[in-house]
Every structure is written in structure tokens, then in C-alpha cells.
Point group: C3
Chain length 220, copies 3
Amino acid sequence: MTYDLQLTSTTLIKTLDLIGTFVFAISGAALGVRNRLDLFGVAVLAFVAGNAGGVTRDVLIGAVPPAAISDWRYVSVSIMAAAVTFWWFHGVRQLSRTILLFDAAGLGMFAVSGTQKALGYGVNPLLAALLGMLTGIGGGMIRDVLVNDIPIVLRGDVYAVAALAAAAVVIAGYLLRLEPTVTTVAGAILCFVIRLAAIRSGWNLPANVVDQSAEKQRSP
Amino acid sequence: MTYDLQLTSTTLIKTLDLIGTFVFAISGAALGVRNRLDLFGVAVLAFVAGNAGGVTRDVLIGAVPPAAISDWRYVSVSIMAAAVTFWWFHGVRQLSRTILLFDAAGLGMFAVSGTQKALGYGVNPLLAALLGMLTGIGGGMIRDVLVNDIPIVLRGDVYAVAALAAAAVVIAGYLLRLEPTVTTVAGAILCFVIRLAAIRSGWNLPANVVDQSAEKQRSP
Amino acid sequence: MTYDLQLTSTTLIKTLDLIGTFVFAISGAALGVRNRLDLFGVAVLAFVAGNAGGVTRDVLIGAVPPAAISDWRYVSVSIMAAAVTFWWFHGVRQLSRTILLFDAAGLGMFAVSGTQKALGYGVNPLLAALLGMLTGIGGGMIRDVLVNDIPIVLRGDVYAVAALAAAAVVIAGYLLRLEPTVTTVAGAILCFVIRLAAIRSGWNLPANVVDQSAEKQRSP
């Protein structure tokens, strides 16, 4: 009852943020390699995928300079992920499933850490959940835009919903005054599980079929 | 002469902002449906189209967190617009003209409310007019980028010019110390009328024809 | 020894920033004409190419409103570049090499002025170098995204590396307490020279070849 919840929570957020950055950066770097970017381009895509969601959140809540700009570890972790992906990248197609796993893990971590940070800045709990979701999906959206893809999060799979579920757990814990470490971990795991189930089952949100013949296919 | 101009203006701005958000969100949602996004993607495109211009303006003038992040009504209005469009969307092609009307109305409202807000933050009147224009066109630009279109505002029609005209009316009223409610409404109406005339007449700004044979066509 | 380094440096940064804005804006306007944008679209692309890197840097370090929003000269210089390019643009293809030169000069100027500004805001020297690089490449990235190209900086040429080299010179000078004017000019020149050499020699960073048959070619 008397231990330092605030410190625990802060350390936890930082750790989750760095792990999430690394796994998201791998997904960004992988997309960069698939699009034949050069080494620098792969590093930028890794950094963007790993950090742009959090940077956007920080700019919106006024937490400038954002962590990714003031703390060297975020850049280092991103470059490390880019290097690993760039030189160890034999046959990206076989790895697409692995990348989905990385992505699912990063999504959960970012959703919960983003929600916690927004709460810490006094944002209304419900909007904090949306900012947590943005933290989770923003990097991937900008990553996709940079290589001229319509962001995959907008097209299918239960993706943002999984991030929202994680954020909702954190918010519920906050409102019920539960131990933040527990709800944070629980939220991240819930998101990961929902993503895995969605990937295995091919779950999708409904889409509105306008014209079958003119269907745009997302390039593989 | 003694009534509270400031209050009137503030309430007016908020109301115009919410109406503008709704109609822009419909244009975003419609584009989302046409690009076969899922329900979540349609909601994101609605939110982006309805709010990204104002959010960008707020970030640039230091008004963080932006209204769209701190006031639940913007998110609610956007989701409502997405839901209406998603489920009531029979044959989007027949509605493209209606969407243009919504868009014209939203453009005028955003241009005047954005200009007023920038003035309220002490921005130089002439730059405030550009920020008003940005409020009007920014959401649509990001909306188009997200579905891999070159922003339509950059390609043709007298669109940004209409927004600038609305902003200019507000600025003129501000410099001449006219009643803001009057100039705000007049500016929005002027923008709407210019847009309607431009749509009916096919007005376009000049473009520089470089190479007929290699002409890139915007996909319909 | 007693003259006002700070003032010299500030004036130098402002001048470099405006020159850099002009040359970058020309590259943006040229890309706009090639993509058949209308006059307004060309002006927007000019403004984005000339200012978006610096605006992003300013938002990230909390320097709001950014210079491009609070100082009319940036908008004026951008519009001037757009007008010159739009009406004087006979045969853009013959000029592609000239545009590359403009681009190289602007890159060096932005990299050094961006690094200096970040240092002035107390950013850690190493991250200031990255922000200087961002100042140099950010406008071009958003410019390319707006016309649906994968940012060319991510695809090839020793481009960002040249910006980083310029930033590194500024940082080295800062750490060694050298006269900022000297290191700023030296950094910008180094960047320009590296770019010219890279363009002449066709230098590229390594790219990871995944699948020859499915190679995506950037449209010329």
C-alpha cells in the first residue's frame, strides 16, 4: 500500500515504450526493405514506425520536446532494429507472420503506455484512451503513408480495436484505482491476444462494398 | 453596443466548428467507403477530414491540447458522421455532388472559425488568414494523402481561394472593427457561393502544361 | 573576440533559413508543375518544400508559432519561388539537374541552420544534429508524399548523410567552441560538395535486394 506507485508506473511506461519502439521499428524496417529503400530509408522507416505515434501524442498533449527527441535511447533502439532487420533480412516473405507478431506486441505496449502518459498529463480518461490508441497506430500509419500504401490499419483486421481494448483496461483500472502495473500489463496482453486471434481467424470489421468490379487490391 | 462580443464570437466559433467538423467528416467517411476501408478506417478518415486542419492550426499556434483532443464533442460528431455515412451509404456515386455541397459548407465554416481563433491567439492578421485557409483545407489534404490520392485541393477547382476569400472577409472585419458575427457569417457564405459557382462553371486556376503525352490522370 | 557572436549567429541563421527556403521552394514548385498541379497547388508544394522541415523542428522543440507562421518573409519567399517557377518553367526536364543543385544548396543551409536553432533551444548536441538533418530533409519528404511519391531521400543517393555531415560540423564547432559563423558556413559547403559528388558519381547507400522480379521502379 505504501510503495511508490508513481515511480513503478513511470519506470514501467519507459520500459514498455522502449520495447514497443524496438518491435515497431522492426516492422518499419521490414517494410522499408520490402520497398527497396536504402539503408538510411530503412532507418527512417524504423524510427517513424517506432516513434511517430508517441511523438504525435506528445505534440498534441504539449509534452515537447517529445521523449523520442530528448532521450537518445529511442533513436538508438530504432537504429538497432533497422540494422538487425537490414542485415539479417533473408527472405522477408517468410517472415511476414513474425513481423505481425512483433507488431501485435508493440501495439499493446504502446496503447497502454500512451494511455498512461496521457492520463499523467491530465487528459480526460476517455480521450486518453483514444490517445493511447493513436500511440499504437500512429507510427504504423505514417510508416505506410511514406511508402505509398493506404495505412493497413484502415483497411482491415481487428487492429485499432485491439489497441482500444488495451487502453480501456488501463482506463478502467485508473477509474477503479487499481494498481497501474497490473492493469498496464493486463491491457497489453489483452491487445496481443486479440491481435493473435484476429490474425489466426481472419477477423475483420465490416466494410461497405460499393463496387465489386472496381475493387482496389492492396499490393501484397 | 454593450453586449458581449467576445462571448458571442466564442459561441459562434464553437458552433461553426462543430457543424464544419460534421460536414467535413461526412466527406471523409464517404471517401473511406469509396476506398473500401473498414468501419474503423471510415471513422478515422471522418475524424481526420473533420479535425486535422484545426488540430494542425492549434499545434502551430500553441493551443495544445487542441480542441479536438480536449473536447469530446468533436470526436462524437465525427463518429456520428462516419456511422451515418457508413450505413446510409447507398450508391456513393450518385451522392458525389451532395458531398461537394457538404464540403463547400464545411470549407467556409472552417476558414472563418480558424481565422477567428488565430486572431484570438494574437497571430498577425495576414498570417491568421492563411491559418484560416489551412483550417479549411488541411483536413481534406491529410484525408486524401491517407488514401493515396494527391490532395484534390492542389489539383484544381477554385477551392483554397474560396477559403482565402472567407478568411479575408473576417480579417477585413477585424481591421475595420465590424461586428465579428456578421463578418464571420458573411465570410462563410461568400466561400460557399464561390465554391458552388466554381463547381457549376468548372472554374480552375491555371495549370502549367508540361507534357501532354505523359499526363498523369487522377483516378476517378 | 568581443563582438556579439550570438547576434552574428542569429542573423546568419535567419539569412540562411530564408535562402534555403527559397531554393527548396523552387524544388517543390518544380515538382508541382511536373505533377500538373494548379497555381495554388504549386504554391503549396513550394511552401511545404521550403518550410515543412523547419516547422516540424519548431513544433518538436516547442518553438511555436514556428518562424514560417510568425514571420511573413517565409511565406513571401515561398510564393515568389512558386511564381518564378510557374511562369518561367520552360521544359522542366532540361532543368532537373539545376533543381538538384538548388536542392543541394538548400539542404546544406537548412541542416546547419536547423542544428543551430536546436542547440539554441537547449537540445542535446547529438539530437540537435538529427533535428538539423530533419530540417533539411523534412520538407522534401512531405513534398514527395503530397504528390504520391515515396520520398526520394529514402530511396537513394547520399542525401540525408550529406545533411548529417553538415550538422556534424556545426556540432563539432559547438563542442570545440569555434566561431559559429565559420562552422556554419563550412558545414553548409561540406553538405553541398558531398551532394554534388554523389550526383556526379551516382553514389548510393546499400539497399537490400529482396526480389528482383518485383522491383518497384520510381517513376522518372
